[in-house]
């Protein structure tokens, strides 16, 4: 599992304030903390409130890279902000994200190739997010075909089937799991799959329980990566256990400890 830390996001109040006040403190705190928790990537999102998203993204990327070498996942719908960020990234980043929408595809894939970045493709188009797995997979197929067309390596493409909150869109859950399963058959090698895990428990009670139950189910369906809350120890324990049960890591009595300390 590729673990992407979700915490450097302008949706969180401390990060929003840090961006506004140009205060690197909270940003670097979370960069280090997520690195210690085993982040493979750090998601970096200026949030919807940023006045100048391009400048804010540049600042975030610089500030984060001052304290960690963990590569970044640049998260924005503003592709100028993403490109500005990519220019500053010291390691190959992930572009988060592109929907199955032609003009955006044409903007993102050439940019990704230029900067050697990976890409997250969303199973949505201008009409929004379809409910059933077949329609979601069809949109994934469009993105896979586009990647192929632009000569973008499929192994570097992550399909995000778009998890929705269980307390308002419960019927999407099984469809997301089925989409993960189907996407793994779209190409050889198949694209990777990724989810924004915390979405599933948005405004629900028992958030950690919901998150970790869903991640186990998604991993059983073939999930490769997740953007998630690395501060949730029970969640990391579940991921470690799911890896053991899927025979992806060799069991040893200390497997939880090993998983937690694998980056240190």
């Amino acid at each position: 599992m590729i673990l992407v830390g979700e915490r450097i996001n302008g949706m969180f109040r401390d990060i929003r304030r840090a961006i506004r006040d140009k205060d690197p403190g909270p940003v670097q705190h979370w960069a280090k903390r997520q690195e210690e928790a085993g982040a493979d990537y750090l998601d970096v999102n200026v949030g919807p409130a940023a006045e100048d998203p391009v400048e804010a993204m540049k600042w975030l990327v610089q500030v984060v890279q001052e304290v960690t070498e963990v590569p970044l996942c640049l998260d924005s719908t503003n592709y100028d902000a993403i490109e500005a960020g990519l220019r500053l990234c010291k390691k190959a980043a992930i572009i988060n994200s592109v929907p199955a929408d032609r003009p955006k595809i044409e903007r993102v894939f050439p940019m990704a190739k230029e900067y050697g970045a990976k890409v997250i493709g969303l199973t949505m188009d201008r009409k929004g997010i379809p409910k059933d797995a077949e329609a979601r997979t069809a949109l994934a197929m469009e993105i896979v075909a586009a990647a192929d067309e632009f000569g973008f390596p499929i192994e570097d493409l992550f399909i995000d089937p778009l998890v929705l909150p269980v307390n308002v869109a419960q019927d999407h859950g099984p469809e997301v799991l089925e989409t993960i399963r189907q996407v793994k058959n779209l190409a050889s090698p198949p694209p990777k799959t990724i989810i924004g895990l915390s979405n599933v428990s948005q405004k629900a009670v028992h958030r950690s329980l919901v998150d970790r139950t869903f991640v186990a189910m998604a991993m059983a369906a073939g999930l490769d990566a997740a953007i998630l809350n690395l501060d949730d120890d029970a969640l990391l324990d579940t991921i470690a256990t799911a890896r053991i049960l899927l025979n992806q890591d060799v069991y040893a009595d200390s497997y939880l400890k090993v998983f937690r300390s694998r980056r240190r």
Partner: protein, 323 residues
């Protein structure tokens, strides 16, 4: 029709472990030996790198062992002198390194003192200049007395010391850490215990590149296939990025092969099994060859004839087969 050559791409490799220390490294060895570093399954040179050829050790005992006559014949003149035995193993029989087994420490045998054992180690270190492996007598409590003395006696020599098990690893690990030696971590043909033991040892802050895995090889005819599958999984784990399995592997072939009835019984008893001396050499060599195919980096042998056969085999295995 063109055949597509499917190649695996692994993300990681087996860690390298270096044994022995030269004068400038604080020891007295003439050279060091590095094992491991593989980035592919055994000998698939076309898929990845096999940077170091596997090495062969000959076993030396500190007291004359109760071995089969056939074996003893090779060492009759040196059985009472571990130093001379080691020297013969290296100079006459061409062993890459010596594996000194301190059988004499056994409380049910000669029950030698730690200091006596340390003295034997010093003697062997003087007699040969190749890197040294030292293994205790197998009695856990006694080894916990003996091995710290051995570690101290060999300080600076970057020895490979054994045998740590899940039940008894702390004293040996501490001794290896204090005196900067390498450790053999043995598990009973069980990948889970193998990994767990490496974790336990590393949790004592032993560097991972000073651990060698002994997966407990089964001899030919005695569960060798099962050992193979465990060793294959260890290698696949290492190549897949499991740092707690990415250690070089040592196999105790001489000891295991000679436990088999097939190596020992005379032709008179089983006429259809053929000539016993030939059979015994082959039994040991074949068990060793299997160990190599399964991913062993260090093979401990007893019979110099088996060593000779395996040496030739390794040369052939190391011929590049890149596409």
């Amino acid at each position: 029709m063109a055949v597509e050559r499917i190649m695996e791409r692994y993300t990681s490799r087996v860690r390298e472990v270096t044994l022995g220390a030269t004068a400038e490294q604080g020891g007295t060895r003439s050279h060091t030996i590095t094992v491991g570093g593989d980035s592919t399954l055994p000998f698939l040179h076309f898929e990845g790198e096999v940077p170091h050829r596997p090495v062969l050790a000959l076993e030396v005992n500190d007291v004359p062992p109760a071995w089969h006559q056939l074996l003893l014949e090779h060492y009759r003149d040196v059985l009472d002198d571990p130093g001379a035995w080691a020297a013969k193993a290296v100079r006459q029989f061409g062993a890459d390194l010596v594996c000194l087994r301190l059988v004499g420490a056994d409380p049910d045998g000669e029950n030698r003192s730690p200091e006596e054992c340390a003295q034997v180690v010093r003697r062997v270190l003087e007699a040969v200049k190749v890197p040294l492996i030292v293994i205790g007598c197998g009695d856990a409590d006694k080894d916990n007395e003996v091995m710290p003395a051995v570690a101290e006696a060999g300080a600076g020599e970057n020895l490979l010391l054994g045998i740590a098990t899940q039940e008894n690893y702390k004293t040996l690990t501490a001794a290896c850490m204090v005196h900067k030696h390498n450790i053999i971590a043995q598990s009973p043909i069980d990948i889970n215990i193998c990994k767990q033991l490496n974790i336990l040892i590393s949790e004592m802050n032993m560097p991972l590149d000073r651990i060698v895995i002994d997966p407990t090889l089964g001899a030919l005819g005695y569960g060798i296939e099962y050992t193979y599958s465990i060793m294959e999984r260890i290698r696949l784990g290492a190549l897949g990025g499991d740092s707690m399995l990415a250690m070089p592997v040592i196999v105790n072939v001489g000891y295991e092969a000679w436990r088999a009835k097939e190596a020992n019984v005379p032709e008179s008893e089983f006429p259809r099994w053929g000539d016993q001396p030939t059979r015994a050499v082959l039994w040991e060599a074949m068990t060793g060859a299997h160990g190599l195919q399964a991913g062993a980096h260090i093979v401990i042998l007893r019979n110099p004839d088996a060593l000779r056969l395996l040496r030739r085999h390794i040369e052939q295995l190391m011929v590049p087969n890149r596409a």
